[in-house]
Symmetry: C2
Subunit: 471 residues, 2 copies
């Protein structure tokens, strides 16, 4: 029994490192094992390199506003794609170094290797068996690519390989228009590449509100060709790769597969846990404890496929780390849902999605940014924002948007959802002038008009203006 560890963490990404922080506070009898490069998906191939690319792309794209602003010479600007990618990698290396630093002084508690579950309390690491009172699975995810597409070799890119390229294009197809596809296709198009994007459905970037999907499609089409319809089929042709979707056909130099991510569970031996697995091979994981059944086995981050977002993975890591070393697991209240796609205008979904709320249970308050004052001054006046408020209580249940500054408006709304605030509560806050938040206020007022009034008195009128009575 002296060799029995308190816990083994499998995977040293965002979730695994968060779990490690909690574990280290509580015991020194642990191992963390990682297969492949150390450093998180976020820093290596995810959030950070994509955002660095997007910032360059948007800076370059802004030149289209220059003439109207009264700025001259924009025609002389060009994007040096190899230089853009070099900066992405340089900054990426820096962010990865930051992530890896968390594992610097692990000594013998950190192991590079492949872990396989031998049972509920035992793990094989590259041929050696370890016993532990608990296990935390945080193996992350990787991009999905159809097997047969691998034949295209280094012309078939994913986020794992995209940022490693010396240059790109000039003709690129992006297959899949979820968050990653939308971000990358627009960024590359704005850097001057010829981009054709393919989606099998109308729902782009995770938006569920059909009006907003329409808004986003319109925005994207300004920069690229967007095909929505049949699944894309690829074949080798003279001069490149042909991508075909229904009657649409394009020949490109490279294809980016952005068809979602799949959990890294193939070699894990989840079947040895003795619990039921679904058709993807995943056990049921309680989102509030991260526990698998009643085992002392926890699954956090992308690997459990529940909410594959960095901030959720970090929370899950902390929860799993605490629960793995506790007498009995604590149930944690998860944060209000928030997802953001960093295209322009920003996509954001806060709280409940429009499609998930029964029709009639909410009122929708809406604002278009075409005529919004500050957005006009900034030449960023496109997009729309919808808030969904509970019809009986006025409580803000969610919001979806394709809006300038959406990433910021979404955080404001996320705080409101988290705090269970009503539309009137929000209208009571100060809105400065001239700001994009005044657009949000327009949507809130639109919702307020559709909600039952508390009374017809001056005070009710006043409250709808956001000035609440003191006495």
């Amino acid at each position: 029994m002296s060799d029995m560890l308190d816990t083994i963490i499998i995977g040293a990404g965002t979730a695994g490192l968060a779990a490690l922080r909690e574990v280290r506070k509580r015991t020194s009898r642990y191992l963390i094992v990682n297969e492949g490069p150390w450093g998180t998906t976020c820093a290596r191939v995810g959030c950070m390199p994509s955002k660095t690319l997007i910032e360059a792309a948007n800076a370059f794209h802004r030149r289209h506003a220059f003439e109207e602003f009264g700025l001259r010479g924009a025609d002389a600007l060009s994007a040096d794609i190899p230089a853009v990618l070099r900066r992405v990698r340089a900054l990426r290396d820096d962010f990865v170094a930051g992530a890896v630093k968390a594992t610097d002084n692990l000594g013998s508690t950190g192991i590079s290797g492949r872990a396989t579950l031998l049972g509920r309390g035992a793990v094989d690491i590259d041929g050696k068996a370890y016993e532990a009172k608990s296990i935390i699975i945080a193996t992350g995810s990787r991009p999905k690519v159809p097997e047969e597409w691998l034949a295209f070799g280094d012309r078939m890119l994913t986020t794992d390989t995209l940022f490693e390229q010396a240059t790109l294009g000039p003709r690129i197809a992006v297959v899949g228009m979820g968050a990653i596809g939308v971000e990358l296709s627009q960024a590359l198009a704005r850097l001057g590449l010829q981009v054709a994007a393919f989606s099998t459905g109308d729902a782009l970037a995770g938006l569920s509100d059909p009006r907003l999907n329409q808004e986003l499609a319109t925005a994207l089409k300004k920069d690229m060709v967007l095909h929505i319809g049949e699944p894309a089929e690829l074949r080798e042709v003279a001069g490149g790769i042909e991508v075909k979707s229904g009657a649409n056909r394009v020949v490109v130099d490279q294809v980016i597969a952005a068809m979602g991510r799949t959990p890294n569970i193939e070699h894990l031996g989840l079947e040895n846990l003795g619990v039921p697995l679904d058709k993807r091979g995943l056990p049921k994981v309680d989102p509030q404890t991260l526990q698998i059944g009643d085992l002392r086995v926890f699954m956090a981050g992308d690997a459990n496929t529940q909410v594959p977002l960095l901030h959720e993975a970090a929370d899950e890591g902390h929860i799993a780390g605490m629960n793995a070393l506790a007498q009995s697991p604590t149930r944690f209240q998860r944060r209000a849902p928030l997802s953001i796609v960093f295209c322009d205008p920003n996509i954001a979904i806060v709280g409940e999605r429009q499609a998930d709320m029964p029709a009639g249970s909410v009122v929708t308050g809406s604002v278009g940014f075409e005529d919004q004052g500050r957005a006009r001054a900034a030449l960023r006046n496109e997009g729309q924002l919808n808030v969904y408020a509970d019809r009986s209580t006025g409580r803000l249940r969610g919001a979806e948007m394709c809006a300038p500054g959406g990433e910021h408006l979404a955080h404001l709304l996320a705080l409101a959802v988290q705090q269970k605030l009503t539309v009137q509560d929000l209208l009571g806050m100060p809105f400065y002038h001239p700001v994009l938040e005044e657009g949000l206020r327009t949507a809130l007022r639109d919702a307020a008009r559709q909600l039952p009034k508390a009374s017809d008195s001056d005070l009710a009128t006043c409250a709808s203006l956001g000035v609440s009575a003191l006495e």
Copy 2:
């Protein structure tokens, strides 16, 4: 008595028009009188034209990041100042038309002319006397200019005249570095003009936290020469206007006086109200009713000099409009204080100012943006943000910042102050990745570390991560 009006509104700016909206819901027996051009200060000479100028300036300034992003050709860019100003005016005209539209169908209830109070219920308008049961004073403000500086004619500019110029500079002095001075000096400098700015104090743009003033001064000095010290003295010299402050001396083509604003009360006859006036000639106005003493006379907007900001002027107009027609005035709870200066990085002050809180009553949580991930990716990594939390309760009392995206972070914090949230409440919301809001979270965590912990249990640890226990 058949000629007795219910109310007379003096001034048709933001406050007067807000009052008008309330008045029109309640009576048709009113007059609104306006001296000079119709249209609000905000639309004509304030928020909107300045923001339009700033957007052009910042778009142009962004070229300094181009080389690092991997974008080429920025050297060929130039700012066509006359064209920039033409766009400012074109958009301004549009915003003014929107404001004036609110007074379109006033008919005989709208009068252009000068109003003078004859007493508590009587107003002279260009020689004709009107009686009313109540009066709303909303005459606004105008830029302060020392009398003797008027001798410089059209080389002495204020926000009233700046945007009317065909061109500017090339050498400009800005005297006064409050909100307007800071915004204009930086915008003009970023458009390529040679700007020398003069301030008599260290407190720039209304910031009270000395560390942030230092941060802002450093940022401003990247674009202009900034003199802090003696009051500026002007005199005509060969080749221009000499501006001298202590040992510092500069010769410029034009001077912008940005030394604050003064209420338009000279010809109002406030002395006829029979209430005490202060040395500026202003009566005491209750900020929650906008009432002067116990008279049925109300004073709203810049004229009362309390909070000369558009969103406060609008609230005050509504309050005055409601109270002017009520049996007895209602006391209204005013919104959480919020002011924003649209320089880069943005300045914002939320809730209580640092200088107004007794030392020891609050803890200060701080973040610098130099190493903040998203700010680095965007090449906007400068500035600092401080949050002030009540030492005993953890409640957020205020924040000051000189930070990228500060206008958005300030709204999030304003909602928190308005809702009386604690640092822990805020840490419980989702923070996406990678966003500037994560910088705010760093400051909140810094504050949390200095606050007493609720307990040492796992749950307290957890709560400090923002994951609160469900049970």
